[in-house]
Structures are given as C-alpha cells and as structure tokens.
Symmetry: C2
C-alpha cells in the first residue's frame, strides 16, 4: 500500500474479528519497526506483546475497555528512561561505518548522551515519550500496510501496567496498541472520517498565530 493511501485510509479500529495474528506475522511486523527514526538513533523503544489470558490482565489496567480482549494481541510500548542505555554500541557502529570520523568524536557524543542522565526526571520522560512515540506510529502504519488494524490507546493506568507485568521504573509505559483484523462492521471505508483540523488552521507560515476557538 502506498504511504498516501495508508495515512489517509487508516482508521482507528475498536471492533476486531476473532482471527488470531500468527506469531510469524507479529514478528514480521515488529521487524518492520526497526528503521524508525529516533534522536541520535538511540532507539529507546521496547514492545511487550500480550496475547491470550494476558490481555484480560491488561484490560483490568485499562479501565475495562473491551477492545483490549477483543483484539488478537495488545502491545505495551515502553520507553527506556535512560538515554544512554544503548549509546555505546550505537556510536561504535557509527565509527565503524564512517558516519563519524574518529574516536574523539565518538567519545564526545557518548559524553553528551551520558550527560543527559543528569537532566530532570521530567525531561528524560519527555525525551523517551517523544522518541518512543515515533516507533509506535511506525508500528501502526506498518501494521495497516500488512492488513492489520490497530488502535493506539493512552487510557490506561501506567502504574498498574508496571505492577501487573513486572516492568521496572526504568521504563515508561508510553502507549498501548491493540492489534487485530477489523470486523466488517467497523471497517466501513464509506464511513466519514472523523473531522480533522484544516491545514490552513494548523500551518503557520513565518508567524505563529493560532486561531482561537
């Protein structure tokens, strides 16, 4: 499917068929998220894939929304709160591939990113949410391109998710994405898109003058 078609035809789905998603297809999907851009290529995203009974546990952490158990799978998208978690091996690779000229530059980059550990907890939460959200959207578009519908959810109790699935506080639960095959009733392309703000309202050329509503 083309990018244009994917971004324009995509709809958030809440009603799924009972068809499961094979493990092979889930692995293909996760593989397609690999090249998502992230700042400094630091890739803080992690995906916890929940199926079967575990979806019921997640539903209890998500205000009992039935789409969680109706979906074939649900993915908790987590963001590593340590910006430097993978920095060393990433900058080794840059040096090996000639993206940076020498080890001095590598050391300097590493020092910068390790320095971010000293930022406030809020700044590092914002950093990981920004970068992890990019990976989450790549997953949503890749899924749709594979014929798998999805729904991004931000309505869940992050602490309950942490506790239920034994996730340390070094990771931020950024988003839940439910995945499955869309029920025909919910997959009606003739149904009007929910309204979108118009480009003329969102785009500001040279001067920021948002419209009051």
């Amino acid at each position: 499917m083309s990018v244009k078609e994917t971004t324009e035809s995509g709809r958030t789905i809440h009603d799924y068929t009972e068809e499961p998603i094979s493990d092979g297809r889930l692995h293909s999907l996760l593989n397609r998220v690999k090249y998502t851009p992230t700042g400094y290529n630091l890739q803080p995203h992690e995906f916890l894939v929940l199926q079967d009974d575990q979806k019921e546990t997640l539903r209890q952490c998500a205000y009992d929304q039935d789409q969680v158990t109706d979906a074939a799978a649900a993915i908790v998208v987590l963001g590593n709160l340590d910006p430097a978690a993978h920095a060393s091996s990433i900058f080794d690779d840059w040096l090996a591939k000639g993206h940076i000229p020498n080890n001095g530059v590598r050391e300097k980059l590493l020092e910068t990113v390790e320095g971010w550990r000293e930022r406030s907890e809020t700044e590092n939460r914002i950093w990981t949410v920004r970068n992890t959200s990019l990976a989450a959207l790549t997953l949503i578009y890749a899924a749709w391109d594979m014929g798998i519908a999805s729904s991004p959810m931000e309505g869940f109790d992050a602490d309950a998710v942490r506790e239920s699935f034994d996730i340390s506080d070094e990771y931020e639960p950024v988003m839940v994405i439910t995945l499955g095959y869309a029920a025909e009733t919910d997959w009606d392309q003739s149904k009007a898109h929910k309204s979108r703000r118009q480009p003329a309202e969102m785009a500001h050329f040279g001067e920021f003058e948002p419209e009051a509503e």
Copy 2:
C-alpha cells in the same frame, strides 16, 4: 512509494541541495499530515514553517547547526498544552457523524477531556509530546514519499525558540524538522544503515525481560 519502502529506505539527511520547496508542495505536504492519528482525535499539533532569513534565527536557537540554514525550510512542530483546546468542535463532529450515540455521551467525553486540564503540568506536557510526535512522524514519512528529505531535530533551546518566534507558553516546542532535497553526497542508498537494535532484542512476548548491555 510503498510504506515498506518508505520506512526502510528513509535516512535522516543533513546535506541539502539549494533547491527550494515550492509553497504549493509545502501546502500539499502539510495537507497530508491531516489524518494522523491522535488520542481522542484531539490534534494538538501546530506547524510553524520557517524559510529565508527566519532559518538563521532558528539556527541561533539550535546550537548553530548548519543543517537548519542549509535546508529549504524548517518546521517547528508545536504541541498545544491544553488537551481540550479543540474538544468541543471535535465531539460535535462525532455526534453529527454518528460516532457517538447522543449528546449525553458527548457531554461526558467533553467533561473527561476538560478534566485533563487539572492534571499536572508534566502530565499535560507528556500528553502533548506523545500526540504531537505522531503528527511529526506522519510529516516525515509523507515528505519522503514526496521526494523531500528531512531531519528530525531535538537539539534546540525551546525557550529561545519561544522567545524568537513569539510563541506563548501554552504551546510546547516538540521537535524541529528540516526539509529539503537531499544532496547526492548525502543520499547514498548504498551507504549502510546505521545499526538498529534487533527485533529479538526489542520485542518481548508475554514477559518483559530487557537485555542488559
């Protein structure tokens, strides 16, 4: 271009040609961001498009990175910190199109979203960064699909950006995206991708056991 090709062939670009992007193409690009998913469809994103001399001003806010002025245009992607800024008209539309059954549901939704105004400043920053990042990545993929290269930047002084471009503190500067046509030197598809963490390392089936590095 297909979604697969776009997500896999995209590279962050830092070297641009001197070719400008026409206003018509910039408008087309911004139009293609319209259908990006956001939580509750609340669409907090705003795009401040900077060209010509304004790029120099932005460069001063972005640690003098030359890609800002080398690019044909730079977009400051802003997130509205008020979750309910557009809620009323959005839920009116849901009601009109039958996405919700009656005005009681509309009132309840509005109450929920307006209630988010009482959350901490940090939670609302995280909310807008998460949702605005989705719009930013839709813009990056749409640009690439149109043959326009881009580079997402998080290295800038948000306060300096606010001051230079008269942006009120009701908006969070989430990301800067530079846009232009890639210089051939920087657009070498044979160049190895910077390394990516392997799916087996990022994907956790049923249990979250991140690998230590």
